[in-house]
Every structure is written in structure tokens, then in C-alpha cells.
């Protein structure tokens, strides 16, 4: 089956999921992102790579944070940006996804950044756009959030450059998390030898070990000697529907406190994709502590999204800007 993300030459055409992308392309994105990290520190925070191009953020599911980082990334590449919160407009009037997309195609957008509550929505849109339009998945259901996965491994690589010698633990709601799936694929593709998931059985998807992870159900053993702790967001609605008894019990069993973190390596870093639920999945003293790299993740997120857009929109390859 043809990988819909790659063109006939095996180059990136859309970014829909990390799964199935070759290591070469992941490294190309990460290396390109390195060249963009410095842009934000300049007086004039712009490069002209996407000048004259139009990037359209189509958010069928509301999000402020992710949409903003995509918007900043596109603007720093000199693109024109259109934001469309479809969740609050057309769809509530009965318009279908394809109607919405067709309208934006007719307005000559060059790149779509798409978020949707249904898994597979980004693939669906990518199948229906003309050849000259690239689709970036900004999160589809529980399936994938590839730029988040990429910015997370970018952050890991910055702090722990020897990816082939790492132990990484993901903690929390893997079942509902597109971030977890993208992180797992990114880490395993880049050769991280040991990826763990730590969660109660109710928050793990079926056959999760087939994704290449080791499963733990307790924090002490799961965190033992890990180099990186990736926390996952736990949404409040998980307390209903018999997945968990209470936020309090969850925090006591799977919350990241300094005491728990001490089971990891002393120089372990702590990550979180945001937005955090302080006191539910992570203790404030850890989130704001010396091992936390949560804010650098946000900064790198812009560089990584710039890299993806530059590669898709401008034929940008590694080491491209000077």
C-alpha cells in the first residue's frame, strides 16, 4: 500500500503521522529545525522561505495553543496565515468537511494545517486535496499529533543527544492520547532502545506492546533509571465512565511528584505536551522544577513546525538557512 505521506520520490508530501516515516525524514525535519531555533532570538524574527504562500489553519476542534504555534511558525517563514475555527462556524451549520476544504482550495491556499476530533480526518483531507496542496496534521482524534511527537524528540535530542542509549517513560492516558502514539513512533523510529508506558490497564489501548513499548502499571518500577519522563494530559472527563475512580486516587498512584521522580536517573528530564493539570498528573514543584523542560518544549515547537512547513512548502532540506 502506497504511503500517502510520501511523493513518488519518497520525499515528504504531507505530514499526517510519524508511523511509517523513515528515520531519514525525521532527521531531516529535526536538523532543519535546529537551523530555525536561532531565528526567534534575532531582532527580525522572519525568514522569507514561504513568502507569497498561504497557510490555512483549519481547526475543526478548538485549540488556542497549537493553532497559535502554527501561526507563529508560518508567519516567521513569511507566509500569509488564515485561521478558521470550523468547530464554531460552518460545521455547526451542517457543512461537511469536504465542503469546507473545497472552499479553501478555491481560495488558493497552499498548505492546510488541520485538527479534527476524528482519527483519520487528516488522511481523509489529504486524499481529497489537489497535488499542489500539503496537509499537516495538527491532531486527529486519538490517532496522531506528529508535530508534537517531533518537537518532543527534538527536545529529547537537545538534552540527551545519544538517542541510542536512552530509557524513556510515557506516563498516563495512552488510550486517548494522539500525542503518546506520535511520541512512541518518533522515539522507536529514531532508535531509542527502551520506551516504557506507565498507566492503569483502563488507560492503555489493546495490544499496546505491539507498538514496541514495555508496559508498567506502577510508577516506582516504571520510572526506575529512566532518562526522560514524558507526562500525558489526563482530561477531567476520564473520571466519568468508569476509567478511573477519582483524580485524587490517580494522582496518588500515577501522579509525578518529586518523590516518584527520584526513582528516575538524577539527571532525568521531565516533559509535558500541555496544557497541564497540576495536581492531577503532575505536581507543581516538578512542573516548575529544575528537571522540567516543559517551556523549552514550547519554544522548540515553533522551530519544528517551521521546519515541517519549510520542507513541505519550500522544498527546504536540512541545513538550508544561513
Amino acid at each position: 500500500m502506497h504511503n500517502p505521506q510520501l511523493d513518488a520520490n519518497g520525499e515528504l508530501k504531507h505530514l499526517l503521522t510519524i508511523e511509517g516515516l523513515p528515520k531519514r525524514i525525521l532527521n531531516q525535519i529535526l536538523d532543519t529545525a535546529e537551523t530555525f531555533v536561532g531565528v526567534a532570538e534575532r531582532d527580525i524574527k522572519k525568514v522569507p522561505l514561504l513568502r507569497g504562500k498561504t497557510v490555512c489553519n483549519i481547526f475543526f476542534e478548538n485549540s488556542t495553543r497549537t493553532r497559535t504555534t502554527f501561526e507563529i511558525a508560518a508567519k516567521r517563514l513569511s507566509a500569509d496565515v488564515i485561521n478558521l475555527n470550523v468547530g464554531t462556524s460552518s460545521q455547526s451549520k451542517g457543512e461537511t468537511i469536504l465542503d469546507t476544504v473545497d472552499n479553501l482550495i478555491a481560495m488558493h491556499a497552499d498548505m492546510f494545517v488541520v485538527r479534527h476530533a476524528q482519527s483519520g480526518a487528516a488522511h481523509f483531507i489529504a486524499q481529497h486535496v489537489p497535488d499542489n496542496i500539503s496537509v499537516i496534521n495538527a491532531g486527529d482524534g486519538r490517532h496522531a499529533h506528529p508535530t508534537q511527537g517531533l518537537l518532543d524528540v527534538f527536545t529529547v535530542r537537545r538534552y540527551k543527544p545519544d538517542m541510542h542509549n536512552l530509557r524513556v517513560a510515557l506516563v498516563g492516558d495512552v488510550l486517548h492520547s494522539r500525542v503518546a502514539r506520535s511520541e512512541i513512533h518518533a522515539l522507536t523510529t529514531l532508535g531509542v532502545p527502551e520506551v516504557r508506558v506507565i498507566a492503569p490497564k483502563t488507560l492503555l489501548p489493546a495490544d499496546v506492546e505491539k507498538l514496541g513499548v514495555q508496559v508498567f502499571h506502577d510508577m516506582k518500577n516504571g520510572l526506575k533509571d529512566v532518562d526522560v519522563v514524558m507526562m500525558l494530559r489526563l482530561q477531567n472527563e476520564r473520571m466519568t465512565g468508569a476509567l478511573l475512580p477519582s483524580a485524587q486516587e490517580y494522582f496518588k498512584t500515577f501522579g509525578l511528584t518529586q518523590e516518584m521522580l527520584n526513582h528516575a536517573k538524577p539527571d532525568a528530564i521531565v516533559m509535558h505536551p500541555g496544557p497541564m493539570n497540576r495536581g492531577v498528573e503532575i505536581d507543581s514543584s516538578v512542573a516548575d522544577g529544575s528537571q522540567s523542560v516543559i517551556l523549552p518544549q514550547v519554544t522548540y515547537g515553533i522551530a519544528v513546525r517551521m521546519a515541517v512547513m519549510a520542507i513541505l512548502g519550500g522544498g527546504q532540506s536540512a541545513g538550508g538557512i544561513s
Binding site: 461537511t96 476524528q118 482519527s119 483519520g120 482524534g141 490517532h143 489493546a206 495490544d207 499496546v208
Partner: protein
């Protein structure tokens, strides 16, 4: 009208016939096999050299979308699809709009089908009013109107007391209950088999246990109430195992599998192909093998198309939002033959699964070529290869996961009540 079908190879599983024989038809009935009745002079001769002459196929589940959903399909388009696929008798589930829970609706459907005179339509009545699982329907009145059994279609029964009483009431009059076994809660909002693929794709899973738990309850109640039960669209290895054991214990149970589930697996979802969004979900390779084996050893009695035409717009959506179901009447024969070829079963075994066995389950006079039986006949080439293309399908529903695939086995002629209704991809004008 007298028809002589000559030079064909007759396969009639109920009569254990698998030989080159001529078939003679008079007054809408089979008048003779092998030798012509005295004084037989044919008005029409069909040369079936190189072709198989079989009883017309009997499909245990074909949605015709009437009444209520003619933007998806109409009785006419779907019955034309039926005869193009050699299907001359079909059962339709009661999940129409409105639901088939009133005798008048059933009479209307039977009447409209009869006017079209393309295939025999056997409605399954709703087991409970509006399929809500709360109040019983007037089963006797529905039976008199033409229902051959009672079904909940895809609506699960959550109230076991209602289920128990529905069984008792149906058993009082000897009606068969057709149920697709699925635990409501375990299946709720699920769209794919709960396994590795669903986990990778981030789709909400339906565990195989959703089926096996429901089967276990149904079998237990059927045994206690001495009810005749037909389990529709089995999808899991666990389900096959439970039915096998129940049959050994003398429970009055039969079962079918769809043409999708005996060939496809969760892997066929690929990159979110909405045509692979089916009820029940496509399961693992191990499940598929168990279904094929169950067909072979007789645990599963029949193969059905589970024909469910869906309009394009309802499929042009992200996977989980797309309406489930596949169009299948025209693929019943080639996919039944493929089951036999893939599993070292005979062609006669495949034919039995789509003729005599389903006819017996529906308790209708169909599915065989005995002398004096209705001359409902399918004549097909087992070697003809054709490609599934939306533009070529007669059904209004172009939704099938087999689009673009090659099929082996094509119907050349279909006869209903001794009249040629379909010939070489061209419908005879009515």
C-alpha cells in the same frame, strides 16, 4: 413458457447432484432434470455449455432501503442488483424507516416486490417495536403479512428479561429469531476490532468479547426457552467456538458469516478506508481463519452478502463518522467461490452455503432444483474474471471494500419462476 437449459453442469446440493445434466422448465417449475418430461417441447433453449446451473441464490441479509431511504437505494435498483448476482430469494432486515413492526408495512413491501417480479423478498419483522428492545411486536400478524422470522437488525437487546420473553413468545409459535450478537455496552461507539490496528489508528475498539458474551447469553436463553435461533454475521473465533459447542449440545442454532468477514481483516482498514467500516467490525487474521474453518465444518451454515447500500456522501467522511456497511449482492457468488477455493472446499459446498442452507434457515421453498420446485435458477461461469467497478454495479450503493479487485465467477443468466430475468449483464425489460 417452456425452457430447455442444455449442456450445463448442474450443482444442486440439496439433491446431492453435481453432474452434467439438462434442465427442463415448464409453467414456472422445474419439470425435469436429465431427461425431458413426456411431450416436452421447448419455446426457448439456453446453451449452458461450460457453465454451472445452480438453484438461484438465497441471501440471508440484504438491505433494500425501502421504505424510507430511497436516496440510498430503491427496491428496484437493489432487486436488479440481486438478479445480476444470481440472487432470487432474499431476506431483508427490519431496520427501515419506519421500522418493519407493522403488518401494513410488510404487506406493502411484499406487494411492491411482487410487482417488480425480479426476486422473492422475505422480510424479517422487528422483534420489538421500533427495535427499541422494550415491547414485543405483533408477531402473529407480522407472520401472516409475510415475515419469515424476527430480528433486532443491528440494535442490541440490553434488557435480558425482554429478550427472554421475546424468545418464549416466538417459541410458542415456532418462529425463528435472527440476532446479530453484540453487547451494547462493550460495543458502544466502537468502530473497529479492539486490537493492534485500532490501537495504532486511534479508533475506538469493539472487543471480540462484545460478540461472545452476547452469543453466550443468547444461546443460554435459547436453550432454556427451546427457541430456534439464527446468529447473524459472526465475526470472531470465540463466537465460532461457542456455536460449535452449542450445536454439539443440541441447541437449535444456525449461523451465518458475511462475504466481507470470511475474506477481509482489520488490516484492510489500511489508511482509514471508510469502505472497511462494517458492522460487526473486521477482526483479526485468526478470527477470519476460524470463520472460514467454521464454514467448512458446518458450524457456520451460510454465507450472506450483508448487502448494505450507502450513499456516497455518507461514506465521504472520516472513518468513524462514515456510515457502516458494504454493498454486496453482486459479489455473493464470486466471494462464496473464493471461500471454497481458499479453503479447499468444493464448489458444491460453496453453492450449498448460498442456496439450500439459507433456504432451510428461512424455512422457505427455495434453494434447490427438485422436480416441481420453483424454477429459480442461476447460471454462471466459474472461470469468468471481472473487476469490481462502481460504474458497473447495478446496486445504487457503490460502497464496497472490494472496489478495484478482480472476482472469479460471473452470473450469465438468472431465472425467476421459470422466466429469464437477467442475461449477460443486461436486464431483460420488464
Amino acid at each position: 413458457m417452456k425452457i430447455h437449459i442444455k449442456n450445463g453442469h448442474v450443482i444442486d446440493p440439496r439433491n446431492n447432484l453435481d453432474a452434467k445434466q439438462d434442465v427442463f422448465i415448464a409453467a414456472g417449475k422445474v419439470a425435469g432434470i436429465g431427461s425431458a418430461p413426456d411431450g416436452f417441447v421447448a419455446n426457448q433453449t439456453i446453451d449452458a455449455a461450460g457453465l454451472i446451473v445452480s438453484p438461484g441464490f438465497v441471501d440471508l441479509s440484504a438491505r433494500l432501503r425501502e421504505p424510507g431511504s430511497d436516496y440510498k437505494a430503491t427496491l428496484k435498483t437493489e432487486l436488479q442488483a440481486a438478479i445480476a448476482g444470481g440472487v432470487t430469494s432474499l431476506a431483508c432486515p427490519p431496520d427501515t424507516t419506519p421500522v418493519l413492526d407493522e403488518p401494513g408495512l410488510v404487506e406493502m413491501l411484499k406487494h411492491r416486490a411482487k410487482l417488480l417480479n425480479l426476486a422473492h423478498v422475505y422480510p424479517l419483522g422487528a422483534l420489538t417495536r421500533r427495535l427499541e428492545g422494550k415491547l414485543l411486536t405483533e408477531m402473529n400478524a407480522l407472520s401472516n403479512a409475510g415475515c419469515v422470522g424476527f430480528s433486532q437488525a443491528d440494535n442490541a437487546m440490553t434488557d435480558t428479561l425482554v429478550l427472554w420473553r421475546a424468545f418464549e413468545y416466538a417459541a410458542t409459535f415456532g418462529y425463528t429469531i435472527f440476532l446479530r450478537a453484540e453487547d451494547y455496552y462493550l460495543a458502544q461507539n466502537g468502530v473497529a476490532h479492539d486490537g493492534e490496528i485500532a490501537s495504532r489508528l486511534g479508533l475506538k475498539g469493539i472487543p471480540a468479547a462484545a460478540e461472545s458474551l452476547a452469543i453466550a447469553s443468547i444461546l443460554r436463553i435459547a436453550q432454556q426457552t427451546n427457541t430456534r435461533i439464527h446468529l447473524c454475521r459472526i465475526s470472531s473465533a470465540e463466537g465460532v467456538e461457542l456455536i460449535r459447542a452449542a450445536k454439539k449440545n443440541g441447541v437449535q442454532v444456525s449461523a451465518d458469516v458475511s462475504t466481507q468477514h470470511c475474506h477481509l481483516t482489520e488490516m484492510d482498514i489500511g489508511y482509514f478506508n471508510a469502505h472497511a467500516n462494517l458492522k460487526p467490525p473486521l477482526r483479526s487474521t485468526r478470527d477470519k481463519s476460524a470463520l472460514c474453518q467454521g464454514l467448512k465444518d458446518g458450524t457456520i451454515d451460510a454465507i450472506c452478502s450483508d448487502h448494505t447500500p450507502v450513499n456516497d456522501d455518507a461514506k465521504l467522511l472520516p472513518f468513524a463518522e462514515a456510515e457502516p456497511g458494504a454493498s454486496g449482492l453482486e459479489l455473493l457468488l464470486p466471494l462464496a467461490l473464493k471461500w471454497a477455493a481458499d479453503n479447499k472446499a468444493s464448489m458444491a459446498d460453496a453453492i450449498a452455503k448460498i442456496t439450500s442452507h439459507p433456504a432451510q434457515i428461512l424455512n422457505i421453498a427455495a434453494g434447490d432444483l427438485s422436480v416441481n420446485a420453483n424454477a429459480d435458477i442461476a447460471i454462471f461461469s466459474p472461470e469468468a474474471e471481472w473487476k469490481v467497478q462502481a460504474s458497473q454495479l447495478k446496486s445504487q450503493g457503490k460502497n464496497t471494500p472490494y472496489l478495484g479487485q478482480s472476482m472469479l465467477g460471473q452470473v450469465q443468466y438468472t431465472l425467476l419462476n421459470g422466466q429469464l430475468t437477467f442475461q449477460n449483464n443486461q436486464l431483460e425489460s420488464q
